[in-house]
Symmetry: C2
Subunit: 517 residues, 2 copies
């Protein structure tokens, strides 16, 4: 057994049995070990942003880390943007990054770079393996870190000779420690705030990693019992919504709208999040969304045992058996007709969204109003971009679909964002992933038109407009999909969209719809 094989056996032994990869020479022994070790599913991406984004999506749906296999510093660099998103979503990932053989690094060969330096800004843990005999225990340490609640990024750099040198044992990861319990005082303090204050000015704010399952239900019970306001962070790693579930309003992206949402809030009880801040700074507008007079009380931090904390809070409030507030009723809009518009698209989505779908949402501008008309669709999960690094949705859909092959994955994607990681389409085609994509082709970085005004830079002239538009030529998304081996169609109208969306839903493989705006 060589080091590479010991590493793969360690991963598989710990249930890290999916590897999203784009390997090179320094990773060849790991690739070779895949032929000798059963139980590892390897998924090739043709660009590393696909690889790291897929690992993020996998964690959000499977609830456990995948591994990645990346080629040296540049390969890791290509994966950084989606690692950034994964960091902000608190997704657990075990990155394996190849490196030159230990004795070769000193020669500064063309591909030599400071891999630890590249890894550190987007990793919770970084280690360079020293030799083949201990590579397995290094991997076990990385796995243990990646599993730390709610999830962490562990990056293990493996020089080539740690892969091809001899190994003996296969290490086990340390058991994952339980999530820290919140103190009784924290529960009592939160209960006091929710009981004593004016419920119409008291908000229970739930972090993006805790808006599903038992936590979501308990939040609904507490809101029903106390009459408090209830909201989720702007974005969520996995928001459960749809008929029968607690409807969770989201803090809006535009700073004026979010300030307005909080203008009368006097007290926020924080559950797995912090007090909300503006996505960007704008001249003359606040960075902190809530008014200065608003107080905050933390029930649970993001890493705490949030379910138990809410359970204890519900018990303290006598809300354990209270019917949850704001349960969505099954209610689908009629299929609309006419010209494509954000509202019309929302209606098509609300009318057709299948039960148990996983929606991956990077429809930065077109999608802002999708929530209302999809709220009554059958139950589904909604995955949002938490780090703001665009190029998120297509790769995350890959990972989500690998984690849940029996569920339909729906991608809502802006054309500007889709371009950063369009290579994900090929991975969907090779693996016949059940993903239906709507690409909203407004031929521009539409969000930036608003942002230009928002930061006080006024209206764009000719040169600025050239930097905000992606027309001349228009991208042809049907051709781009075909080029990657993915079937596709175009929707010029809402009737087209309904037809094309149905076609995607009826397919068991990837299907892309260019929605012309």
């Amino acid at each position: 057994m060589n080091g590479a094989e010991s590493l793969v056996r360690t991963l598989v032994g710990e249930g890290v049995n999916v590897c999203f990869t784009n390997p090179g020479t320094s990773e060849m022994h790991f690739v070779s070990a895949l032929d000798r070790v059963a139980g590892m599913r390897c998924v090739l991406g043709l660009f590393e942003g696909v690889v790291t984004g897929a690992a993020d999506g996998y964690f959000r749906v499977a609830g456990k880390p995948a591994s990645t296999l990346l080629h040296l510093g540049p390969g890791l660099g290509n994966g950084l943007a989606n690692l950034h998103n994964a960091t902000k979503a608190r997704s657990g990932i075990v990155n394996i990054v190849g490196e030159h053989a230990t004795y070769h690094i000193q020669y500064n060969a063309p591909l030599t770079s400071d891999i630890e330096g590249i890894a550190r800004p987007m990793s919770d843990w970084v280690r360079t393996a020293k030799n083949s005999m201990t590579l397995s225990s290094d991997a076990a340490a990385a796995i243990a870190v990646a599993r730390e609640a709610p999830g962490k990024i562990a990056t293990l750099i493996a020089p080539a000779d740690t892969a091809w040198g001899p190994a003996e044992a296969v290490a086990r990861a340390a058991p994952t420690p339980p999530r820290p319990s919140v103190s009784n005082d924290a529960v009592r303090n939160a209960a006091r705030v929710l009981c004593d204050g004016d419920p119409t000015t008291t908000m229970l704010l739930i972090g993006g990693g805790a808006v599903h399952g038992r936590a979501l239900e308990l939040a609904g019970r507490i809101a029903a019992k106390t009459g408090c306001l209830l909201a989720a962070e702007y974005n969520s790693s996995r928001l459960e919504r749809g008929a029968g579930r607690v409807q969770m309003p989201r803090v809006p992206y535009p700073v004026d709208a979010s300030v307005k949402m909080f203008q009368n809030v006097r007290h926020i009880v924080l559950v797995g999040t912090r007090a909300p801040v503006a996505f960007f700074a704008y001249p003359g507008k606040p960075s902190v969304i809530a008014p200065e007079t608003c107080r905050t009380t933390t029930l649970a931090r993001v890493e705490d045992d949030i379910d138990s904390a809410l359970e204890a809070l519900a018990a303290e409030l006598g809300a354990t058996a209270t019917a949850p507030a704001s349960i969505a009723k099954l209610s689908r809009p009629a299929l609309p007709s006419g010209a494509n518009s954000p509202e019309g698209i929302a209606a098509v989505l609300g009318a057709l969204l299948p039960e148990n779908a996983i929606v991956v949402d990077e429809a930065i501008t077109t999608g802002r109003g999708f929530a209302q008309l999809t709220a009554g669709a059958p139950p589904h999960d909604w995955l949002s971009i938490m780090g703001g690094a665009i190029g998120f949705a297509l790769p995350v859909a890959v990972g989500a679909s690998v984690a849940a092959p029996d569920r339909k994955v729906i991608v809502l994607e802006g054309d500007g964002s889709a371009m950063y990681t369009l290579q994900a389409l090929w991975t969907m085609a090779r693996n016949s992933l059940d993903v239906t994509m709507l690409v909203f082709a407004n031929r521009s970085y539409q969000i930036l038109r608003g942002e230009l005004a928002g930061v006080g830079a006024g209206a764009p002239g000719r040169n600025a407009t050239d930097m905000l538009t992606i027309d001349r030529p228009d991208l042809d998304w049907v051709a781009l999909a075909k080029g990657h081996g993915v079937e596709a169609g175009r929707a010029q109208t809402l009737e087209d969209l309904a037809r094309e969306f149905k076609r995607g839903l009826a397919s068991s493989g990837p299907y892309l719809v260019e929605v012309v705006l």
Copy 2:
């Protein structure tokens, strides 16, 4: 005048009048300033790897830095791989990276990251601007660094409020210091080695940044006078070759071949380079290519005044008027026919390569034998990947074409490599860049098959093969080009290739040929 405008005026005032860009909210004031300051050509890329690669290509051809404009840490992250290549090519670049407003960073908004940390591994100089009044002098400092010989990467991080705050003056960059002269001793030592030793075991090895112009010619004169061996590094930032120029053999990529090239070399005189090292480590094979007994003498380091050093060496050797060795004669192969093959493709290239073309070469496996049959083509430049981070050629072609709009740019590109930065096609279409691309579609990471054996990992089984191939489905490069607004054709045979290549050469805009292998 605000800070952003002072920055743009500083760049333009120093002749940094091209900006490759992919901006976001934090860069909106820079974009707006483009409407008010004349003289800056802004070129949009739809992915940051296009932006940084274009800046590398621009420097190699224009001989001066371009600027980039990138969006926060993730945007810079996406550009790192091609910054790595630029670092290894010693290209000068002024990166401008947006950042949250100084007072907003503390709130850890979704896009907050350690931008300096991300920049450092691929930058010679990193600075975060402190306020709008000094942003111009920060930019001037960055420009001065980027111009330091042979070229450096300067990364200036500009918080949003340094862009929208007030500015007064437009700073000037410090004059670029002359390249250090080599000492008389260095010249005499090199001359002694070349005169006293056995010329058949003495090699003049020229670095990849100095194989053009006067340096190339002088190297040829010195070789002719002394009879010494002459070679260039494996890759070059710009190699001048073709009829009438000194033919410069390159150190081969495969370690066995490079070791063989040096097996009888007893002494190397280094000019703008170091002793050659293996691209990767392989078990049982050396990292240092030359035999242990081989001695090295440095005439000039990469940053030194290499032209003057070679001038002095030629004078010392009495070679100033000697006719250069190995001048290539104009000689084109006949157009071949039949099935596509590396040799046949080389012949088509040799037969049709236009005078004064700029060839950007990332044909990692298919292109290894192109040198011989193109050596007698009319004079042309050959730009190679110096850092080994694939996804190089399409972006570099963008920058080369922007720098030299009157020259034909030819891209020789593997399909695996092309996929990392295929978004460059759209930038070529929007700017009507005169670029003809041959994409060699062997449907695999062909190089890795050899590397797998090279590192002793044996023959690939089913799982490993899946990680080395990019088939199932095949990429359709004609559709991918069309999707980006670029005309394209397919070559199943060498006759097809000649026809399609001619079509590209006759066009004044981008044209892509999928060469099916």
